[in-house]
């Protein structure tokens, strides 16, 4: 049995193209089952995320087969003859590609972990729809082992890669459990909104929004099940806030030592985390020199995210080595070749391949 992969992803296909091939979570199993019914296709799994749509199929067919899958995909999504940046991989290359995808090595944000769950969900849907059998069942089980192995034995997932993720990571390293943390938003900009949302997903409660436009404060507070206050009242909320996010358009700092010192005395050693994403800055940099105060501005947060992204990129070679080792271990031929591909996948077949004519 041979394994083929046909797909397109964010690297070559812009969102206008990707959205034409998007398969919703609920339709995933059904689409896999429909693909598996196509002549000469024995098994199929459709993986569709915001960054890629890929068809993994098992078949006895060989060289001309990728074109046959592409024809099916074009028919299914009514794509006509539009030139589309499809890629296709067969046999060991297809297996290698799936291993890379599941390990986060092919993701836009290198090492992101969400893709692993998406691959699992796509396979589970196909399995439930009866679109898989021995070959893809084995392949996906091995894929999950490889995905876990690569993440465990490399640093590809290490470090936060976005401003929101950095803020959450720092907050967790300061407070531990965020469930008891109160977040005060001063200003309702887009980054502060997404940062507060990231904190809320990790358990932060009691979000208070203060903004010059009270309507906007109320709107954001409503979105986060928080409370809106008048802009002039934010100082009275400082003593009880654990995380303060500043993102106003004020031309000068709005928080300095004179605001923070009395607050620190009231907090009795409990740390205070300031996230200043405003330009010009909202919080006087001198505030960060105080014991128990951790202050990060937008450059500080961005540089941590950039550093993490670089670190992840530097891990790619190690991850590739790990995948090659596992391909050898799992009996998948590992030498890289483009076409024609004659090597098998190393996966057992439930029935013998047809005799050559």
């Amino acid at each position: 049995m041979r394994v083929h992969c046909l797909g397109l992803n964010y690297k070559h296909a812009p969102v206008e193209i990707r959205e034409r091939l998007a398969v919703g979570e609920k339709k995933s199993g059904e689409t896999s089952a429909e693909t598996a019914k196509v002549d000469e296709i024995e098994e199929a799994v459709v993986l569709s995320t915001c960054n890629r749509t890929e068809f993994y199929v098992a078949s006895h067919e060989g060289e001309s087969f990728p074109q046959a899958i592409e024809n099916h995909v074009r028919r299914h999504f009514q794509l006509g003859d539009d030139p589309l940046p499809f890629y296709h991989h067969s046999d060991a290359e297809a297996v290698r590609h799936l291993f890379h995808v599941a390990s986060g090595m092919d993701s836009m944000v290198l090492g992101e972990t969400e893709i692993f769950g998406q691959v699992k969900a796509a396979y589970a849907a196909a399995l439930e729809a009866g679109a898989t059998s021995s070959t893809l069942n084995q392949l996906f089980q091995k894929t999950f082992n490889v995905g876990k192995h690569v993440r465990t034995h490399s640093k590809i997932t290490s470090g936060p890669t976005s401003v929101g993720a950095v803020a959450v990571e720092l907050a967790v390293k300061i407070f531990g459990d965020l469930k008891r943390c109160k977040v005060l938003l001063i200003g309702a900009g887009e980054i502060s909104r997404s940062t507060a949302k990231s904190l809320a997903t990790r358990g932060a409660r009691g979000i208070v929004v203060s903004n010059r436009s009270f309507d906007k404060a109320e709107e954001l507070a409503g979105e986060m099940e928080g409370r809106a206050i008048r802009f002039d009242d934010f100082q009275s909320e400082l003593p009880s806030a654990d995380i303060v996010i500043g993102s106003t358009a004020a031309p000068h700092t709005i928080i300095d030592g004179s605001h923070v010192d009395p607050v620190l005395r009231k907090r009795r050693g409990r740390p205070l985390f300031f996230i200043d994403i405003a330009v010009p800055r909202d919080i006087d940099p001198g505030v960060g020199d105080r014991s128990g105060v951790y202050l990060y501005d937008i450059d500080g947060l961005e540089s941590i995210a950039t550093e993490s992204r670089k670190k992840r990129a530097s891990e790619l070679a190690r991850c590739e080595r790990l995948v090659e080792e596992l391909m050898q271990k799992h009996g998948v031929l590992s030498h890289r070749t483009n076409a024609p591909q004659r090597e098998g996948t190393g996966l057992s077949s439930p029935e013998p391949p047809p005799a050559a004519t």
């Binding site: 465990t152 531990g176 500080g300 993490s308």
Partner: protein, 260 residues
């Protein structure tokens, strides 16, 4: 046999520490696995050692400086095993094991004369329960202060990472700063309470009152109690509390020379 037990225990702590450092460097450190196993293994052999020495002395095995060091190290490991999981301080073991190792190496090098110890035990007569209680409580208090010292170092390391925005491998493995702050506070409270018990039991021992040993222990108790008082009443910042806890540990260390 006691020296073999101590040697094996020391090897466990050293092994656990070396493994953790290598794993941290390679980025493959997994909390609560090998390091915890090494700490547990070390504890078993420490206990066997202390049991052996206790049988020789017919008393709490703290008759020499070497034994006192092992006893404190034993108390530290037990406190780590109780406190670590509660506060998710998996890396505390990595920081604890070198200190435990350095406590046990001098003891290992000093050696233990079984015949002499038996002769001393025979000459000493029956054991005094108050004396045993006093010594045991005092040394476990020293163990608590030692662990506060270790947690204080971890706090300052993590505080520096957070202040400088340097998120390296160790940063991700170190516990949250607030957990460390709570752990230091708890350890100092534990140490002060145990030392109070040790001082109280000392007054039940004939001839103990007014000795230089007891004077030093009182001084140490007052020092840590004042530290706690300032923390609670004046809201001493956590970083300063950690710094004072590290500095204050010099007092129990020096006092060991006088009270042994």
């Amino acid at each position: 046999m006691d020296k073999i037990y101590l040697g094996i225990a020391t090897a466990f702590f050293l092994g656990g520490f070396i493994y953790s450092v290598i794993a941290l460097k390679n980025g493959s450190f997994r909390p609560s696995r090998y390091n915890l196993a090494a700490m547990l293994g070390g504890l078993v052999f420490q206990t066997l050692f202390l049991g052996d020495r206790g049988r020789i002395h017919y008393a709490c095995p703290v008759t020499t400086a070497a034994e006192m060091f092992v006893f404190i190290a034993w108390a530290m490991v037990i406190i780590y095993l109780v406190l670590g999981p509660t506060y998710r301080l998996s890396l505390l073991g990595v920081f604890t094991s070198p200190l435990v190792f350095f406590f046990q190496v001098p003891a290992l090098l000093a050696g233990f004369d079984k015949v002499a110890a038996e002769a001393v035990a025979d000459a000493k007569g029956p054991t005094n329960a108050w004396l045993e209680t006093h010594i045991a409580l005092a040394l476990i208090a020293y163990g608590a202060f030692a662990m506060a010292f270790v947690a204080g170092i971890m706090f300052l390391v993590q505080d520096r990472f957070l202040k400088k925005g340097k998120l390296n491998g160790l940063f991700f493995h170190l516990p949250p700063i607030q957990n460390l702050s709570r752990a230091i506070l708890l350890l100092v409270i534990l140490g002060v309470a145990l030392l109070a018990g040790a001082l109280g039991s000392a007054y039940a021992i004939d001839g103990a009152a007014g000795t230089a040993k007891l004077f030093i222990m009182h001084g140490m108790w007052v020092l840590y109690a004042v530290l706690l008082g300032v923390r609670f009443t004046r809201g001493l910042p956590s970083a300063q509390f950690a710094r004072f806890t590290i500095l204050a540990f010099a007092v129990p260390m020096v006092s060991l020379y006088f009270v042994r």
